[in-house]
Symmetry: C2
Subunit: 387 residues, 2 copies
């Protein structure tokens, strides 16, 4: 069991290049991302069985090491990335340092926990359905889900190929943005975006206390970018988008993991196994209907977000739920969270969580979203972010 976010046992340690733009920084790696010489355990006792120990770093790990950052550990993840809350029955639930009685969020739970506790400068996570964005919100961190497909996914455990991304967490906005400049090999934009949209449907969907808590953050964004223009993020319905994303993602993750389940008959938490079993029941008709909705969602995002425009919404509809609740008690909250995150997997746009608000003493974040490929525009805002 662990509570600092790192895997138990001796820490994975890999020194980065002696010079480079990230020289001297320390980072942690979610244990679904390959580090050469260390098994990728994937948050379950049976994922690594029969798989060779990686001989190569994942592309992004290699990139960061070459930029001068050093690995100081691998971190706990929800089982094979299937979870949004960060409770792992095998490895234990990492501490949420900002709200110790609450979950850290997942599936990149340990990475968020370690960064929030100040145990490393930044950490890598993956995000298919919200696995960087949600723990960023719950642990009060900067966190990015990059544009789908922009970062080479080699050496990272696949879950749902049409939704999978790899991103990172940091406490400091300037550092957070510098990582992006290295990873994307892109300059920091000379100017900030000039148009701000506010997703009224997404704000209306969040708890009233969250709407209230995020207000100063929106005001700050208005100063940096421009007066917010109200728009509907999902004219078809956030819950309709959520359902489409859930079907596509569940169906793909079933296809991904079915051969392993069949061969290894692995030990899984009931909640994870049940979700996989339900994924196996999705029909072609449901898949096709969801794929059509995805086309509509992508068209909507392309319409809303030309270069220079960003959109803001609550990252999560509430702060982190309490730890240790029954499976059934978390089913509806989990679905509510994904109503605010499903546009990511569905449309592939980049999203950054900005920290700064609290409800009942627990963090909750404001997200900014840009058009595909405009990740640096979001990072430029993060770099200027102070409240």
């Amino acid at each position: 069991m662990t509570d600092d976010g790192f895997l138990p046992g001796p820490r994975c340690q890999v020194a980065g290049a002696t010079t480079g733009p990230l020289e001297g920084l320390s980072f942690a790696v979610k244990d679904l991302i390959d580090v050469a010489g260390y098994p990728t355990l994937g948050g379950t006792p049976d994922w690594a069985t029969g798989r060779p120990v990686p001989q190569h770093h994942a592309w992004i790990v290699d990139r960061l090491l070459q930029s001068g950052a050093s690995i100081v550990g691998k971190t706990v993840t929800d089982e094979v990335s299937l979870g949004i809350l960060g409770e792992n029955v095998h490895d234990g639930t990492p501490l949420n340092p900002k709200a110790p009685d609450r979950v850290p969020g997942g599936s990149s739970s340990g990475s968020a926990s370690a960064v929030a506790a100040g145990l490393c400068d930044f950490a890598l996570g993956t995000d298919s359905g919200g696995s960087v964005r949600v723990p960023s919100s719950f642990c009060g961190l900067f966190g990015i889900r990059p544009t789908l497909g922009r970062i080479d996914f080699t050496g990272i455990t696949v879950q749902s190929p049409s939704s999978d991304t790899v991103g990172w967490f940091a406490r400091d906005g300037t550092l957070f943005a510098r990582i992006g400049a290295s990873v994307f090999d892109a300059p920091m934009p000379a100017a900030l975006p000039t148009r701000l949209l506010i997703a009224t449907d997404a704000f209306g969907f969040a708890d009233a206390a969250v709407q209230e808590a995020l207000r100063p953050m929106v005001d700050r964004l208005a100063v940096l970018v421009g007066e917010p223009e109200p728009v509907l993020l999902a004219p078809q319905g956030l819950s309709v988008w959520q359902q489409a994303q859930r079907l596509l993602q569940s169906s793909e993750s079933w296809a991904t993991f079915a051969p392993w389940l069949d061969r290894a008959n692995p030990r899984l938490a009931w909640s994870v196994a049940r979700a996989l079993a339900m994924g196996s029941l999705i029909t072609d008709t449901e898949r096709n209907r969801s794929a059509l909705m995805r086309e509509e969602a992508r068209a909507r995002m392309a319409y809303l977000l030309p270069p220079g425009t960003i959109l803001c919404l609550p990252t999560t509809p509430f702060p982190a739920p309490l730890r240790g609740q029954a499976v059934s008690a978390l089913a509806y909250p989990r679905d509510r969270i994904s109503c605010l995150t499903s546009h990511g997997g569905l449309t592939g746009v980049p999203q950054v969580n900005l920290p700064g608000a609290h409800v009942d003493g627990a963090p909750v974040g404001l997200s900014i979203v840009a058009g595909r490929g405009c990740d640096m525009d979001l990072l430029a805002v993060a770099r200027r972010w102070t409240l």
Copy 2:
């Protein structure tokens, strides 16, 4: 991990009464049956969590101890009794001493393994869908599924109340029958049954090699009881009965375990979790249709099996499958096995497996079935059983 059928760690040891009909005998107890002072672990790491250590023996354990037998250990079981093959991903798969490359059968896997290896005189198991009968067949043992409801189930982990029974395994027919006389507090019948039915549908359903291997056993039964009269066990179809029993049992076991799954989010093998998830989807319509079929099956058994009549059938359609196969490779064999066992849960009649046949060097058994309450008639045959 274990391979002798007993739980790892210090053995559960409870001395029986110093005198009694079972004086000096040793027995093992499936770890779904309470022994006072020992946690009932149920074949998973998360079953006992939050449950008090039993303060009382299960009724049958108490009865056996008072009869003079002593407990020498608790034995491995499929997770919360949900399995028919005996492969447990948490505790390991007990050895089948008669066919080491094959599964022992389950869910009373460890009890069958320990008795077959000669590590105790007899052992207790439970049987809802075949969990004593199948390991008896696979390990070459006498095994009984008693009449539903005849033995007090107090202190035994419930799976599917309308199917659950508790029985036992032994190597020796005389000893096997003596246990029954003590448990049922009944005299050994003065005469054997006088009429033998042979279930032609069940024989036809077994592998040709099994039919052939069982022939000398049927001949021996004919000498003891009478010339076999061919009958259909299940005029509606063995597979129709199997489907009805599967729906009823899955639906009941879901109802049994759902609160635990919800509260504890336990670690389960994928195969077990998936079966539970599918059980949650059974509709009232399906349940009602299955309950009607159960009435028909009960009427059929009452018609076929008046006192003095017994019926024989292959216990399993084949000997034990090889260990370590993929989940999908075992799905169809598992269903085929239950086509020959589902009459037990469906109708509540008692059944005894007689050992003696082999196919490819591995044991396979012949079963005898009597009308409800006629358990002692079957034990009387077992007592006379030699080949």
